[in-house]
Symmetry: C2
């Protein structure tokens, strides 16, 4: 968004992919993006209630009313700011007995470079819509991975759920609560410890399973 004030229309006019209702190119895309950036950061650090529209607007350097004009209301802003993509397709093809460690490493990278995940986790604990969104992500992006790794299709939801308890627990203690003994663990240590756990949850047989 900086330096774009020199030729705002030209830049927007160059990207003619999305034809808007008006023939004139949009100058507001920079502002919209600035709002989303600020919203993501505020939601990630403060949660839904304490992330005020006024604070987000101040971070973005514009008036609070602009947020309303572009995103309708606070819920619309959150919906627009947080769209989770676990990028499961980018997982390297590994033998089935290494899927656990691969997943842990993948999620660690994901959480560290995308604050939207922290935002959704923080909001999900106090906001009903946020909790539902987390379940959507789980259903649409986590279940398929478990389906590919787990032998028995009937066990897929339970095994994916077990994996979710471990991964979300890591995210909670490390990136939300920031518990010192958890943040002190290195990436390699976490992969080495949690990898076998996910591996077992997803692929190992288990004697206590209801249908044997």
């Amino acid at each position: 968004m900086p330096d774009s004030k020199t030729t705002p229309t030209a830049r927007a006019a160059g990207t003619g992919t999305t034809r808007a209702t008006t023939p004139t190119a949009r100058r507001s895309e920079a502002t919209r993006a600035a709002i989303l950036d600020a919203a993501r950061e505020r939601f990630a650090t403060d949660g839904y209630e304490r992330a005020t529209i006024r604070a987000i607007a101040k971070d973005a350097g514009i008036d609070p009313s602009m947020v309303m004009r572009y995103y309708g209301n606070k819920e619309g802003l959150f919906a627009a700011a947080v769209s989770i993509d676990l990028r499961m397709s980018e997982l390297p093809a590994v033998p089935r007995d290494r899927i656990g460690a691969t997943l842990v490493a993948h999620f660690l990278t994901l959480w560290e470079e995308n604050e939207q995940l922290t935002a959704l986790l923080r909001v999900g604990t106090t906001n009903a819509a946020g909790a539902e969104r987390m379940q959507d992500v789980f259903r649409d992006q986590m279940l398929p991975v478990a389906r590919a790794a787990c032998p028995d299709p009937e066990q897929v939801p339970a095994r994916a759920a077990l994996a979710a308890t471990q991964m979300l627990g890591l995210a909670l203690t490390r990136y939300v609560l920031r518990m010192p003994p958890v943040t002190a663990l290195t990436r390699d240590e976490l992969v080495a410890w949690l990898g076998p756990t996910l591996q077992r949850y997803l692929t190992a047989p288990h004697s206590a399973w209801p249908e044997g």
Copy 2:
């Protein structure tokens, strides 16, 4: 607090341990307890920001100003309402190779019969004081257990931290987010699956350990 209305003064006068500034016994204990009960429930279901003093007072059937008189302010109310006791001393004496399953079972019982744990977890994700309190509980009540189970004292914090990621992840997905595939798991299934995980985190050697 129930049935105490018959002889309120006599009951309070009997417990002369804390000498109040006034010689008259306290009739207000029932109200104080009602406030704490309502506060615990609201904090557990709504989190810190959305649990308003007005709503808590209405649940308790009294005026909001009473909350202020008895607990000073909202932070004081939360501090008084949420005092976590993991009751680790009630853990049955089991051989060291069964500490994992025992801990999982213990925590499941704890979370299901005490909503203060849910309250603290919800508040901890959006409130700095709540997050600090969680770390206090971890340090004062979780570390000793790990110290008793883990061979090398130097590894205790890291191993306790690993156990915390799994247990808090279970609490988050099951009691806060209430993800259907996690709530669908039975108590026995969870003990059977998560028990070995905690067992390994607390007691098993590991090749990837820094000082091997």
